[in-house]
Symmetry: C2
Subunit: 266 residues, 2 copies
């Protein structure tokens, strides 16, 4: 807990150094408080156009923060200098859509045709929700946000297609109204909710069994509120079974040098 | 004038039909009032990844509204059904970066490797400015908005690079404050201004000689306010001299079936 508290106020570059040196291999939630964290997808160049187009066509679930040049492993915009191959605590390797390995370093398997995509994450607006007295249940309960596959189709692009995945936070109607206002300020990291209330209307049958992440308590005076989720593009990638794809392991994100507030347009 | 007044209240699909039938070959400003108009860039597929990445890296000047599938000429999201080859009043053909022709139909020169990009335009927020009593001088003076090359570099992507081009509207400081609020609601069609006041600070030396469009009156109690402009990606394309590129002719835009208000996040 002391270690965690230290890291929560530590600069991203220092935390990434600890990660690079193998001294931090746990989830990144709560680290470098106030700085945006990002999802990672790495694909061979031959899939990059289709994936870039998929993200362009589905900006709500797939907000691209940075796309590195082909073969380049150095983050330039979202961090002042960071090596995408070593500065994430845990990576997942997928071959033909099947998880084959979890590793803490992808330097040895790097290829000159790899394209790295950093994708926005709802972590970026959760601090703003808390500051506005909107509860964020999975933080209270110290678990992962619950995520669900919906029946909302994404617009397909080349080989990539699939349903929108949403994250869910329970709250009162009054808090939901405030949450809509607050998250509308963050259009480049998912923005306003896509739905609230009856989960069946977006094809979700059982909130207690999320498709990804953990179930959280929903009090009987609360309604579920749903946001487009950055797991959507990952799910679309897996479904298309590319020969190889690398992502961050769930919860083990890339910590950027950019503050959450930089993504607020108001 | 009667003809113009009729067209200003006409549905986009009807105006596009007149265009398709060769009955309207003039600029589209003021037509189908309240509906968003878009810039067009068509490139061979081999340039499409670099161009898509250029737009992703420079979202303020290059807000992509829709990218058609390779070889597909039918607009699907921004219009319910429209043929991009015939439903714009005038096109420009560039070969190796040089303007070689202006035509009213590109059906005969269509290629299976063409990718069409529809890009947002500041027309989309001008109605909102007018409704908030912010003057739009080039509308008052019935000319084209003045546009200037700046010393603000775009982030390059593959073969595409170049400076940001801005549009300028003169107004009082008080109106500028309101204009910043109003256009912040439209992040997907350029959003808030990038600069106001001293043009030299962004490398613009003479407001009376715009690089594109027409000079407008600036009263001595007004300051210039600058927005990122959709001419930026066109200028980057021309500078990279692709074997062929097709764009709309200035002022002769694609009229979408989407209302301007659909691009406001608040």
């Amino acid at each position: 807990m002391t270690e965690f508290e230290n890291l929560s106020g530590m600069l991203p570059s220092k935390v990434r150094q600890l990660i690079r040196e193998g001294k931090w291999r746990k989830p990144t939630s709560g680290l470098s408080n106030g700085y945006t964290q990002a999802n990672l997808v790495i694909l061979p160049q031959k899939y990059a156009y289709d994936f870039l187009l998929f993200c362009q066509r589905n900006p709500r679930p797939c907000p691209l923060l940075e796309v590195l040049d082909t073969g380049d492993a150095i983050v330039k915009l979202m961090a002042d200098h960071a090596d995408i191959r070593t500065e994430i605590p845990k990576y997942r390797i997928y071959k033909h859509g099947v998880l084959t390995d979890e590793v803490t370093d992808i330097k040895r398997m790097w290829r000159e045709d790899f394209v790295s995509f950093l994708i926005g994450c709802s972590f970026s607006f959760e601090q703003a929700l808390l500051e506005n007295d909107v509860p964020v249940r999975q933080i209270e309960e110290q678990c992962n946000v619950p995520m669900y596959r919906t029946n909302i189709p994404c617009r397909s692009a080349g080989v990539f297609k699939g349903p929108m995945v949403v994250s869910m936070r329970p709250m009162t109607e009054r808090q939901a109204i405030r949450a809509i206002q607050v998250t509308s300020r963050f259009p480049s990291v998912h923005g306003a909710p896509v739905h609230f209330g009856d989960p069946a209307k977006i094809g979700v049958s059982d909130l207690s069994h999320p498709d990804f992440g953990d179930a959280v308590t929903i009090h009987d005076y609360e309604i579920p509120v749903f946001w487009a989720c950055g797991v959507t593009p990952q799910a679309a990638v897996m479904a298309s079974r590319p020969e190889i794809a690398i992502t961050h392991a769930p919860g083990h994100m890339f910590i950027t040098d950019r503050k959450d507030t930089a993504f607020s347009i108001l």
